[in-house]
């Protein structure tokens, strides 16, 4: 176990107590920035007029696209934390990817739900097996599988390492899944109904979209840091409970009296 200077330094920075201190200082600011960005983004989205083709439903895009983007960013964050877990074995990395998984699942669910809501007026049906929707759906299943695996194991350290391996295997697979779903889609259907290529969007849609994307990203970081803080607290509590259980075990004879 040779530790280079850089790693010890990094783990110094990632010390849980320091992290808690940092989190309590950063969280109010992050929340404020998120709230302001959301206010601005929502104002811009509702102030702009609808698309001549899609009408007002285009506003769903301002929620749908950022959520879809976050569903992928969240997995990237998890993959990076997974490397932290496996290479440096740092408990904070364990906490990071454990708490990111439900957030990722939530954003993916938002993307799917808004996609479905958008689909009803646009395509006349709640669900189409569009390439994007389908690959996001597969991503959603992967998130749920990871959450299920994490919950199935008692030892948090072991659960974190095994989940990290699965996260990385999944991360390598995401491009393959995306590619194969695209292939499958072109085979079975004409090209996607809506193309959302960056260049084809008019500036008046782009501005609120970018602000909303930024707001969602900030929301993610706020929630993630808060969730990590909660998880650290939770682990401290359970560590102390186990300690209490052991202390009680050291005093035989008193137990019958105490139980009343």
């Amino acid at each position: 176990m040779s530790e280079s200077l850089a790693i010890t330094k990094l783990s110094d920075l990632a010390n849980p107590t320091r992290f808690l201190g940092l989190a309590s200082r950063v969280l109010p600011w992050l929340s404020a920035v998120t709230a302001i960005l959301f206010a601005a983004g929502l104002y811009l989205s509702f102030a702009g007029e609808g698309d001549y083709q899609q009408g007002l439903t285009v506003r769903i895009m301002y929620v749908h696209v950022p959520a879809a983007w976050l569903s992928m960013m969240c997995y990237t964050v998890m993959a990076l934390s997974a490397i932290g877990t496996l290479v440096w074995r740092h408990p904070l990395a364990d906490v990071a990817h454990k708490t990111a998984a439900p957030l990722g699942a939530a954003f993916t669910l938002i993307a799917l739900a808004t996609g479905s809501l958008w689909g009803k007026p646009m395509w006349g049906t709640w669900w189409v097996w569009d390439a994007r929707l389908t690959s996001v759906f597969v991503l959603f299943l992967m998130y749920l599988g990871l959450i299920a695996l994490n919950r199935a194991m008692d030892d948090p350290g072991k659960a974190a390492r095994l989940c990290a391996i699965l996260i990385l295997v999944g991360f390598v697979n995401i491009p393959i899944i995306k590619f194969s779903v695209d292939w499958w889609n072109t085979l079975h259907q004409p090209a996607s109904v809506i193309r959302m290529g960056g260049s084809s969007i008019d500036g008046s849609f782009l501005r609120p979209l970018l602000v909303m994307a930024l707001a969602f990203t900030m929301l993610f970081f706020t929630l993630h840091i808060a969730a990590m803080r909660n998880e650290i607290w939770r682990r401290r509590v359970s560590a102390q409970r186990r300690m209490a259980a052991r202390m009680a075990g050291d005093k035989p004879g008193l137990t019958t009296e105490m139980s009343t």
Partner: protein, 219 residues
């Protein structure tokens, strides 16, 4: 390593007939499809390759969770972890043995099911060929799930949930290639070669991930 392959094959034949159950499940799944969609032969022959593939996918998941669990329960896994053979190689050989014991019987049973589904000879041949090439990929990627869930006493269902999303590309290209062989305009080779590529990719990724998981499963 040849000894390990031989031992695992002997075990798959003797222990509880895992291969037989897989094939039975495969036949049962495919056999209930007509009860669901109706006995329309045209429809069945149209969806046949897809049904056979999905049946094979589900059956391939059946025995996966036992791949490392039996070794762990009787302590053999400990000894395997201690040897100087790279663990990746040990896992790869175990995957191969598992495939020969559980995957290959599915491939061999598939023509029979093709007849049930009113598929013509070309479609049956193509489905069998794609299954032959594609099912190893399911075993390799399944090995990761099996290794990750090795300490869970009832990990079978969880393994399936973890593995299925990752198996989507195999299913897509397997079925696409089968259809491409029958339907004229679509070329057979591109999806088939991609399927080969996916299998080879998983042959590397699967044992690597599984070996890493096995090393981490016990402490």
């Amino acid at each position: 390593m040849a000894a390990l392959l031989l031992r695992d094959l002997k075990l798959s034949v003797r222990a509880g007939g895992g291969a037989l159950i897989g094939v039975l499940f495969f036949i049962t799944v495919v056999a209930v499809i007509p009860f669901g969609v109706g006995p329309d032969l045209n429809l069945l022959s149209r969806i046949g390759p897809a049904i056979v593939w999905i049946g094979a996918l589900l059956s391939a998941l059946l025995g996966l969770d036992r791949m490392f669990q039996t070794e762990r329960e009787d302590g053999s896994l400990d000894l395997m972890l201690m040897q100087e053979h790279p663990l990746v190689l040990t896992v790869l050989v175990k995957c191969l043995a598992h495939w020969i014991g559980n995957g290959l019987p599915l491939v061999i049973a598939s023509p029979l099911l093709g007849l049930f589904m009113n598929m013509d000879e070309v479609a049956i041949g193509a489905t069998m060929l794609t299954l032959l090439v594609g099912t190893p990929a399911l075993t390799f990627i399944g090995a990761v799930g099996a290794a990750v869930a090795v300490t869970l006493p009832r990990g079978g269902l969880l393994v399936s949930i973890l593995v299925l999303p990752l198996a989507v590309p195999v299913l897509i290209f397997g079925v696409s290639a089968s259809y491409a062989a029958v339907e004229d305009p679509a070329p057979f080779l591109p999806p088939f070669l991609i399927l080969v590529a996916i299998t080879m990719f998983f042959a590397v990724l699967g044992p690597l991930g599984a070996a890493l998981a096995l090393r981490n499963a016990d402490d």
